[in-house]
Amino acid sequence: MLLEFKDRGIGVGLRPPHYPRFLNGKPNSVSWVEVITENFLPWSNETRIRPEQTLMKIRQNVPVALHGVSLSLGSVDPLSVTYLARLKQLAQTVEPIWISDHLCWTGTGDKNLHDLLPLPYTEEAISVLVRNISEVQKALGRRILVENVSSYAEFEHSEMKEWEFINEVVRRSDCGILLDVNNVFVSAFNHGFDPLEYLNAIPKDRVGQIHLAGHSNNGTHLVDTHDAPVSEPVWDLYRWVTENFPLVSTMIERDGKIPEWETLEAELLRAARIRSESNESHSTKRIAAVL
């Protein structure tokens, strides 16, 4: 595993309804939190916004990871110089444990569609991503994690599988992977591939963080809504990951219909139990191998 993404245990995607809990301390069930970068970046013509003040208070109680949605790493357009400068400044202030964004594009021609749009799996797309990821890492002075997105469209002219694509991007740009297990499941359902084939192909030593989240089942397809509990098949996939990957920082991501803390915490504890059981299993196998 890349050293800068050492295992930090169980974390949570921190959203406003739960801010008060982390302003007053830190629940024992959580070791770190992830926040959406854009919610704390200055607005146009502003130097700072109040959410950043809130974040700095939270930061005193718990380590923070910054997770962005607007870097648009896969866009053919140059990266936004303004965005990158503001991200760098925020990172210097917050000192996050790591910074992440997505393997996608969010718009072109200065327009932001505020969605994680799919890329074709082509050499050209790899080149664009590698160029942009490298530029970001150079600007920030650190490796970043890039997340696999769930998708509803694949392109006819793709030249390879998604997992082959990710492998090449990560190898050439020397970045880490934020593995969203729910996104793997959603995409597998929507495009008809085996999620285990996908997970087996991911470079284990590059995975620095795991997302678990819920989705909506529309019959013919799944939609990554992040507004439901983690589904049982995704829990099964997560268990498989913990049994086949080194221990990786894991968090629950919930963006809509955010439940009471106790409900969310129950999922965090379930993730912790799965990790613990898998860790015991690893230990047993290591001991058996020696004996």
Binding site: Q53, V76, K111, D115
Partner: protein, 259 residues
Amino acid sequence: MKAIRLKELQRCFRDSITGNAVSDLGFDLIRSTPNFTRSERLGIYRHAYRARMIESLEDDFPVTRGFLGKEKFDGVALEYIAASPSTFASIAEFSRGFPLFLERVESLPRFLLDVARYEWLLVKTTNEVLPTENTVAVLASLSPDEQMESMVALDYSVTLFESPWGVDHLVEGSPYGPTPEAVQLMISPSSGGAAVERLKFHEWRIASLLRSGITLQRLSETLSTEDVDEKEIARIFASWTQKQIVRVLSKKHETEESP
């Protein structure tokens, strides 16, 4: 399938999502399966784009939406999204231009334009950084003469807003609906979000003078010619200073030392 450059693919895909019609090229680029067609796949992105942007506007303009009704509001929101697509990193900032856009929409009642402007100011102020400078301490460190010669102003996070429609009560949920009620409001950041204060005429006058910066000496002289009681000026100024609504732009000796 003929290869397509990424630049053109992204342009076609973007136009297929945001436009009123799906471009043929954008459509054909997408793989289709019997149970999940191209149209459905692209439809997810088209729907998600509109739903997300409309939801963001609904969150920031709930009272405007309430008066317009969902159907009319969503219709106007879609027009705004088409006319002024977001160029912001944060979707929260997308609402900034909506009140101005509403002024171009025909047949909207005038009071509603003020409601929308006011709702945006509440959102903006809630996101403003809480003032950190201790104005009381800064002024207390000065002699009386230095205080009078210091340049003071409303903190940049404070907004003055006036309307003939009593918008603050409307947004708070007044059961009486829009009635002509001229109000002059001071909106400032507070720990709970935004604090709104209805100003009396002379308070509005003081705030207006403070808006772009004025020395205390000049403030006092101007208001004395308008028959505003000195004790009342001092009381208001002390209160606003305590609440960090007023900040010191420059002290007397800094003014003198300036080239």
